[in-house]
């Protein structure tokens, strides 16, 4: 799988996907290779099982939810454009891009709101636009080790909902959720200790990868400074 081989591959609907997601050609190509690597039987789409086979994802406490987010509306398969569309949420906000964007066009997938919405959907299982106490508790159960008792978890869930709940309906709406997240943006700015990216790259690849790297390996930008505006 040399570079010559990869240039020859043609991504179905490459251009339209690129326009929609804002990925560069190189990033898209890499994602396409990854997509095909995940696709075990060369089906042309990914099933849940394909994603579940990713070892590191199996031990991610949110693994199921993350996988679910690739399969909206109960579908069992995700094709390449759907795959990339989900990943596009994690593309860092590009400075130049943000400046010249046509206001009439729909918000790009990696805008702050869309990012938050993506996160919100991990909580909001029944898609009613609210994180109920029950949903909060479920997330807590996923994320907290067994040392914490159920009683503790319940009161934590109570407290969490209550803390964010402004209109007193006993649930966290998306609006309330975005308000909670506010200070987070500042928190993750310029920490410099973030992320596990550690690749020694050859120079030619750098441009394309930087775009990725910063979004994925969290230099704090993806959810950080830019999105605060």
């Amino acid at each position: 799988m040399g570079s010559s081989g990869s240039h020859a591959t043609v991504i179905p609907d490459g251009d339209s996907i690129r326009r929609e997601t804002g990925f560069s050609q190189a990033s898209l190509l890499r994602l396409y290779h990854r997509f095909r690597a995940l696709d075990r039987n060369k089906k042309g789409y990914l099933s849940r099982m394909d994603l579940q086979q990713i070892g590191a994802l199996a031990v991610n406490p949110l693994g199921d939810r993350i996988i679910d987010s690739f399969f909206p509306d109960g579908s069992q398969r995700v094709d390449f454009s759907g795959f990339v569309r989900v990943l596009a949420h994690f593309r860092p906000v590009d400075e130049e891009e943000a400046g010249i964007r046509d206001p009439k066009q729909p918000e790009p997938l990696n805008s702050r709101m869309n990012k938050l919405r993506f996160a919100f959907q991990l909580y909001d299982l029944d898609r009613d636009g609210k994180i109920s106490r029950h949903e909060m508790l479920q997330v807590l159960r996923l994320m907290v080790g067994v040392q914490v008792t159920e009683e503790q978890l319940e009161s934590i869930a109570d407290r969490t909902v209550q803390e964010a709940d402004e209109d007193g309906d006993g649930a966290v709406s998306f609006l309330e959720f975005t308000k909670v997240r506010m200070p987070l943006g500042t928190l993750r700015v310029q920490t410099g200790w973030e992320g596990s990216g550690n690749q020694v790259q050859c120079r030619a690849e750098r441009g394309a990868l930087r775009e990725w790297g910063e979004g994925l390996w969290g230099r704090g930008r993806a959810w950080g400074r830019k999105s605060e505006v």
């Binding site: 994802l57 509306d73 020694v200």
Partner: protein, 803 residues
Amino acid sequence: MSMGFWPFDSFGSWMLLLLLVALACSKASSDLNKSTNSTTQHGPNAWFAAASSEPDERISVFELDYDYVQIPYEVTLWILLASLAKIGFHLYRRLPGLMPESCLLILVGALVGGIIFGTDHKSPPVMDSSIYFLYLLPPMVLESGYFMPTRPFFENMGSILWWAGPGALINAFGIGLSLYLICQIKAFGLSDVNLLHNLLFGSLISSVDPVAVLAVFEEARVNEQLYMMIFGETLLNDGISVVLYNILIAFTKMHKFEDIEPVDILAGCARFIVVGCGGVFFGIIFGFISAFITRFTQNISAIEPLIVFMFSYLSYLVAETLYLSGILAITACAVTMKKYVEENVSQTSYTTIKYFMKMLSSVSETLIFIFMGVSTIGKNHEWNWAFICFTLVFCQIWRAISVFALFYVSNKFRTFPFSIKDQCIIFYSGVRGAGSFSLAFLLPLSLFPRKKLFVTATLVVIYFTVFIQGITIGPLVRYLDVRKTNKKESINEELHTRLMDHLKAGIEDVCGQWSHYQVRDKFKKFDHRYLRKILIRTNVPKSSIVSLYKKLEMKQAIEMAETGILSSTAFSVPHQAQRIQGVKRLSPEDVESMRDILTHNMYQVRKRTLSYNKYNLKPQTSEKQAKEILIRRQNTLRESLRKGHSLPWGKPTGTKNIRYLSFPYSNQPLKARRDTRAAEFTDDDSCHPGFPPVMFSVQSRTRSLQERRQVQEAIPMKSFHRGREALNFDDQRTGQKEHGGRDKRGILKPKPLFHTVDEEYASGEQSEEEASAIGPRWTAEQKQKHSRDHHQSHSPLLQRKDF
């Protein structure tokens, strides 16, 4: 510090007593020798000689032969003393966070040295060159090579090689040359130290051991690349310093007889490269051989660790025979074989290998530090203010220069450059360790008349770096790490931040790795196509999830789940009624403690490097966490596995249908639900037979949620009695502990005990309704699976398997 050491005083005191007894014995025994026969020489066999030389001697009832056992006896006592000191060190919780453990070892060594010096004991067993290079050094190198996280190492390989190779050389030559300039100043009285001596000293003093400080800033969560740089430096630095040291010794020997010509220098450089590459080559060869041999050990797994150790050692010895670098050979051997051996050997052998390796290396290091302590306190020192101070200064200056210069260059090639903070930490972690001292201590006195000066200077540098830098680096890291100081204000933030981290990590995993794309791919292909086929047993599990399952140790998992359930509450449990209106009454302290609970108990974002502690083998929290998550997620994962087995759907369902009909449960829907759950545990046993009980205890966590629901729901009376049965059934399986846990819960809630389980059926039904209300998520396929489980559950055979 004195305050810190109180805990092991009690341990240490009797050890000291034992040591003193030993010393007294040896004195007495040698006195006895003197008195019986003054002509006999002192030595291990003196007593026998004395005995045989006197014909009148009868068989005495009590004899003392300390000389015979002296060396092993004292070495054993030292190691024991150091171990007890370590126990004490770790009993006091805060101490390990404050300083590296090498501080403690050095102190113990100095203590032993002081005792030996104070009692005027005859010279203790000393370290000589062959003992060090043949027995003490290999285990230490093997250990760090074996525990090196392979993947991040190779991902950062360029930077690591660039930093460790030229870095060591710059340090060695920089320190050597600048000290040579200092030696030219007549006033210091150092004019007899020539250039070669200085270079040699530079090479030995530049061997750093920064891994000792990794434990100190472990909890500061330094980033992975920094971690790998420090680890890689430790790994390669020793090898490079030793090669340089040996070459320079050869030069010095040659210089005694003739002048060094430029040709010799060129030859030396060439030799440097040959020695290094040759060592690595032999290491890789031996790594493959031992991996290949472990392929056939399935019937005699007891010798698996032996194979691993002997082949590593053999690679070291073979490389040394050929005058190649044994250190690099054993490192390369460990790195090469690790991956394959770990897949071949049994779980117990794997654990044995890990522990034995840690143990050997810590024994080696303890001994070296004790030698160091012993030689610190004594008369063999030469103090020269100028030389020692300038050594200290140059060590720091040259390390700074090499760090900032080399990282400036390598940053140009990296996607993620090292920040100035990272570089400062790397600079500051230049702690010298056992390696420097050993090399200085082993300098041949015949070639180096000022050896004592070198040893003293080395000791000062070690003490300075280990104590001052080692103790201050933790606070420095914490100070530089901005994120640490930012305290999160609300529980929401705490939760959402962690969720985001997990989400990002998950998405990263979905996207896969992005490094060294082509090289890695090619290696992977080659590995897959040839190496693995040759080196690894054929019956290895196919998917990574299966291998993860395989690695789970059931017993531990059960214990973990049980303790999790039984652990008591840390803060007050809000009462049922109170919870609904009265949450606002939570005091700030409660909120605080909630946040603490969250901070400490939320799963950590997965790291690709495992945490490494030079002195200890901690149960990896990440491993434990992975187990927990896997157990909890096992339903979905198992489903994917099952699908992976590509069994035709219809067939098993059909056969089970028949059994279902013959089973006398019909028209009891609730019971059927109950069995559905039971069946969850029993099916798919071929994959992981140990799971059922575990699953059960984990499940009981969800139970209390269901208890809660019960308030709102009325339950048909009929089902109570069946529920009672089911409860007994459960208790048989989970035993007394679980029972107690439930009792406690029962007392807390004003409900009859047997409601609990009944409720489970009701709520089980309800939750399924909920699930189907979610609608689109609950897909056809899952439904099918559900109904299949349903059918399975009624098989009496499967039921019985559970017991």
